[in-house]
């Protein structure tokens, strides 16, 4: 087990290098720091001095890959590639283009993100599983058919509609909770209700339908037929056999997104003005702060790979027949 985990972590290294090279190519080779500086400074005619000054201020004034002016090891370390990409491997995110400490920002901003994603995940799982099990119980009846049609309709509605509609209905018409914003401590709860609710309603359609398929697949299996043949009631079959076995693919599906909960939801956070990592990223994109975007790409990749690793491990825990090799 431990050797498997270590091997998988070693396997992650080339992937992270790949991610780094892609972002590096996108940000420094396709467009040189000169282009970025010109864009940041805004005007059509920018003096070369201004560009040089901007590059010096943000540490982009060094050679891209090889610094022949520097001494010994400095030939490699005092370059843009080393300072901006290699450093990410030790989670040294450096400073944003506007001069803020990115690592500090991330450590501050992950908590509001978690405050939304964790309740959404837990409540969501309970709600979706309940709905899906109900539909599976009433399979091949009108309740099931129209339930699925309703799911498809809800899936087809843009997530923006749920957010804007929710803000308008709950926040503006009913005045139940503030439309957007955030506060610390227990005060935060009233700001969190609406985003969590909207997120929940927004993915009811796809999740319920997906879980229903999983439950129906379990219902078609032999052990369920055996259980029925033994004379167990449909309720017992459903809860003891179908639900328990159906939970395996559902929970392993959840494990893969667990690390991504830190990143938060980009759109929701930005709409509800929640100072999490999602809105941090959106702001960075809008302000064209390349240092933050680069850091978030790297962080996102690390968390994704972590999610894959956790999924593999969770498979062996829930199903001992699977051997890690």
């Amino acid at each position: 087990m431990i050797s498997y985990i270590i091997r998988r972590m070693l396997y992650a290294i080339p992937i992270l290098i790949g991610v780094n090279v892609i972002t590096f190519v996108l940000f420094f080779v396709v467009n040189t720091p000169d282009d970025i500086a010109r864009m940041q400074l805004g005007q059509k005619r920018v003096t070369p001095e201004a560009i040089e000054k901007w590059k010096a201020d943000h540490g982009y004034d060094k050679p891209v890959l090889w610094n022949s002016d520097a001494a010994a090891a400095g030939k490699i370390t005092e370059t843009i590639f080393f300072e901006n990409s290699v450093r990410l491997f030790v989670f040294d995110f450096g400073r944003s283009d506007s001069g803020r400490d990115i690592s500090y920002d991330i450590s501050q901003r992950m908590w509001p993100s978690l405050a939304i994603t964790v309740p959404s995940l837990i409540i969501g799982l309970l709600v979706y599983i309940t709905f899906a099990l109900t539909l599976a119980f009433f399979r091949a009846t009108y309740i099931d058919t129209w339930g699925v049609v309703l799911c498809v309709v809800m899936m087809s509605i843009s997530s923006m509609f749920y957010i804007i509609g929710g803000q308008y209905l709950v926040g503006k018409l009913l005045h139940l909770v503030p439309i957007s914003g955030y506060d610390t401590g227990t005060e935060a709860i009233k700001f969190l209700v609406l985003p969590v609710l909207v997120g929940l309603v927004g993915s009811i359609g796809s999740s319920t339908r997906w879980y229903r398929t999983i439950f129906l697949e379990e219902m078609g299996k032999d052990f369920v037929r055996t259980a029925r043949a033994k004379g167990l009631s449909e309720t017992v079959v459903l809860y003891r056999h179908v639900l328990r076995n159906g939970l395996i693919p559902i929970l392993t599906g959840v494990v893969v997104i667990l690390p991504m909960l830190f990143i938060g939801s980009l759109i929701t956070e930005s709409f509800f003005a929640i100072p999490g990592l999602g809105s941090y990223t959106i702001d960075a994109i809008n302000n064209q702060d390349f240092a933050i975007v680069r850091s978030m790409v790297f962080l996102g990749s690390v968390l994704y790979i972590l999610g894959l690793l956790l999924t593999d491990i969770s498979y062996t825990i829930v199903d001992p027949r699977i051997r890690l090799s």
């Binding site: 940000f27 282009d35 091949a140 975007v293």
Partner: protein
């Protein structure tokens, strides 16, 4: 003088490919059977009618040209600089009917008060009459009555168009089946046809009546109101259809060759080829999607702002950005299909006919093209139709982060993005948002229903319970 944008060319290439595929599928029984099953599904066929309606509008909007300008000496033909599409010609009245600012659907008066100087020198603050919406009314009080009266010819025209088309369809069906027209009609009414023509014709009727009615009324009113700069929202929503379709289909066109080639190769050769391909798609997958798009679009913006001289017009620039967005979305979405194809190919390569072909010394390329590719096509089909609706929805989200299509291009995402802040106004400006959501819902819902039917027909694992 025709103008062919990059995306126009590609969409017609795609149309050609789809036609060729239909022609091919008609001659192959194993492909015809699942499609026939899709055809028997009533819900799927109404979805197809709705989709066709969107596609026809999208295609009409993809034929661009420079309109001819009328000049004094008619021997010399001159062309205007602006680029319009065939759809613009059909809906010519709509872009001309611009107001000053917002106005509600079917409104006769503007949304905002203005100070008006009267002839007798007095000044009042009141809601001015619109310049185009409801100007035929002498007394705006009669508006409700007038809308009803105007609806009648609209609906009648819609019914007429529907009946003409239906009659032609029934006539062709009757001729093919060798029965009389009234006999064929009876079969359809009693739902005794192989294809659910009953449902198809009813859906067609609903779509046609609704559209012709809206089209007729749009000559007199702004049926979905006007936006901030006074543009007709109905026109924008219709123009956005092309953008939505482009994002949904071109992305697939871009990613398909890569996904097919790499997926089949990884599954067939295994070993180091598999390792490399797996490495590529895990790496691409691990970059958060929105961030990769954002990074790429930011880079495109930097490039465009530094090379602004390279583009002959803003429309060309917007078009390039649309294409680029499709490419980026394609790069992100091929990985899922690639993984599926790899798994399926791994299973197939152990099957006897592939083994036999290998024993006969058939080359790798031939085995992959002749024996493997046709047998993974069902996965491709399912993925394409499932991805389509997700991509159309994604466009709206991307527009919100300003990394979607060019802001000057009409798209549902841009409509939502520019209208979302107006929800804070009093009274609420809801029509722009609603129109975008309704048009989007129509397309995505139809695509989802169709996708479900296709999946049910092609996926061997799905059984009826």
């Amino acid at each position: 003088m025709p103008v062919i944008f990059l995306t126009d060319g590609l969409i017609f290439l795609l149309l050609l490919m789809v036609t060729a595929f239909i022609w091919y599928a008609r001659r192959h029984e194993h492909l015809r059977v699942p499609w026939r099953q899709v055809g028997r599904n009533g819900m799927a066929m109404s979805a197809v009618v709705v989709l066709l309606f969107y596609i026809i509008i999208g295609l009409l909007d993809s034929m661009h040209f420079h309109p001819r300008v009328e000049t004094q000496n008619s021997t010399e033909s001159r062309y205007s600089n602006e680029i319009i599409s065939v759809l613009d010609v059909l809906l010519k009245h709509l872009p001309e009917q611009t107001e000053k600012t917002y106005s509600a659907p079917f409104a006769t008066h503007a949304y905002a008060m203005e100070t008006i100087d009267h002839e007798d020198g007095t000044r009042t603050r009141e809601y001015p009459r619109l310049q185009h919406g409801g100007t035929h009314l002498d007394d705006p009080e009669n508006r409700g009555q007038d809308i009803l009266l105007k609806s009648l010819p609209g609906i009648a025209a819609g019914l007429l168009v529907w009946m003409t088309i239906s009659f032609m369809i029934v006539m062709v069906l009757a001729r093919n089946a060798g029965v009389t027209i009234s006999g064929q009609l009876r079969y359809i009414v009693h739902r005794q046809t192989a294809l659910p023509w009953h449902t198809i014709l009813l859906t067609l009727g609903a779509v046609l009546v609704l559209f012709v009615w809206a089209f007729y009324l749009s000559h007199y009113y702004h049926i979905f109101g006007t936006d901030k700069v006074g543009q007709d929202v109905f026109y924008q929503a219709i123009k956005s259809i092309r953008t939505g379709l482009m994002i949904g289909t071109l992305t697939t066109l871009v990613m398909l060759p890569f996904a097919l080639m790499l997926g089949v190769m990884a599954g067939y050769f295994r070993g180091w080829v598999d390792d490399i391909i797996q490495y590529i798609y895990t790496t691409l997958n691990s970059i958060p999607g929105v961030l990769l798009i954002a990074a790429a679009i930011l880079m495109l913006e930097v490039y465009m702002s530094n090379h602004s001289g390279d583009f002959s017009s803003n429309a060309h620039r917007a078009d390039l950005r649309l294409f680029f967005l499709c490419v980026i979305l394609g790069i992100m979405s091929w990985t899922g299909l690639c993984r599926l194809l790899r798994g399926e190919t791994m299973k197939l390569r152990e099957i006897d006919y592939v083994q036999a072909a290998q024993a006969f010394g058939v080359s790798h390329v031939t085995i992959m093209i002749r024996h493997l590719l046709p047998n993974v096509m069902h996965i491709v089909m399912i993925t394409i139709v499932l991805d389509f609706s997700a991509l159309v929805l994604a466009e709206a989200v991307l527009a919100y982060i300003n990394i979607g299509v060019d802001p000057s291009m009409s798209s549902w995402g841009n409509m939502i993005n520019s209208a979302r802040l107006e929800m804070a106004r009093e009274p609420v400006v809801w029509w722009s948002l609603s129109a975008a959501f309704v048009f989007m819902l129509g397309l995505v819902l139809a695509a989802n229903l169709f996708a479900d039917a296709v999946r049910d027909a092609f996926d061997p694992r799905i059984r009826e319970y």
